[in-house]
């Protein structure tokens, strides 16, 4: 699970509970200028995720950490695919974040509204 909020001109993703051990991260801070959008996407968990390093991947149970796919790094923190949100980034270490949040619709609205007017 992750908590997403906006702090000034940054998008802050806080990794909760034990997930942060597997992810080797407790939070990610991304300038909003490098955030391209957010999408609720339950179906993405069924896609190939690529090679994990570092992180934990128990198919069907837990996907946490950095995955390498098609030359891109994707950060995953998902147990319940129905609550997965995809945050697309530009000019960042990660090409995108796939995170589980409590209320995907609210998180998508939060991120997209923060982006409106920023080009």
């Amino acid at each position: 699970m992750a908590l997403v909020h906006i702090e000034g001109d940054d998008l802050v993703v806080v990794i909760e509970g034990l997930d942060k051990l597997w992810a080797l991260k407790s939070s990610l801070t991304i300038p909003l200028g490098n955030v391209r959008g957010a999408t609720a996407d339950p179906g993405i968990a069924a896609e190939p995720k690529g090679i994990r390093a570092p992180g934990a991947h128990v198919p069907g149970v837990l996907t946490v950490g950095t995955f390498h796919l098609d030359g891109e790094k994707v950060f995953w923190d998902v147990k319940d695919p129905s609550k997965a949100v995809v945050v697309e980034l530009a000019d960042e270490h990660y090409a995108r974040l796939v995170i589980q949040v409590d209320d995907p619709r609210a998180t998508v609205a939060l991120v997209e509204n923060a982006l409106i007017g920023k080009g």
């Binding site: 959008g37 996407d41 179906g43 896609e47 098609d70 697309e88 090409a95 995108r96 997209e112 409106i116």
Partner: protein, 166 residues
Amino acid sequence: MGRTRTFDEDEVVRAAATLFGGRAYDGVSVDDLVTHLGVHRNSLYKTFGSKRGLYLVALRRHLAHDVRPLVDALGSAPDAASALRLITSADLGLLLLAAVERAPADTEVAAEVAAALDAVDQAVADALGVPADLAAALTSAALGILLRGNPHGVGTALAHRLDPLG
């Protein structure tokens, strides 16, 4: 560095406009987009940033390819009846859905919808030589007829009343 883009972006956007115009924004999942557009999920995200990003591009394509020609045609409408007929026979599905579903929640969509409808109003006002508010009233009636499927031939009844305008 990622997978090379190997799809026809305009074709994808056209198909997305059809999908959003038929099922609305909330009725289309990313799975639906991947299935119907024939594009990898990663490519979709990389190209459009988000489902909303693709939706905005699809809406703008609809406005350019479906609403713009209507505006052009309205410019040479000889009378109110023709203007009414042009609007009620146009493919405005995505515009109407956007007005109802997304515009209240998304200021960028709201701006696109308002600009498109303003252009239609203006074209009607110019073609018929009527004030802007009357042109907007005619457009509003036409969109209402489009939504209701022209019940009891109200289009004809309205055209009869408006004929002196032309």
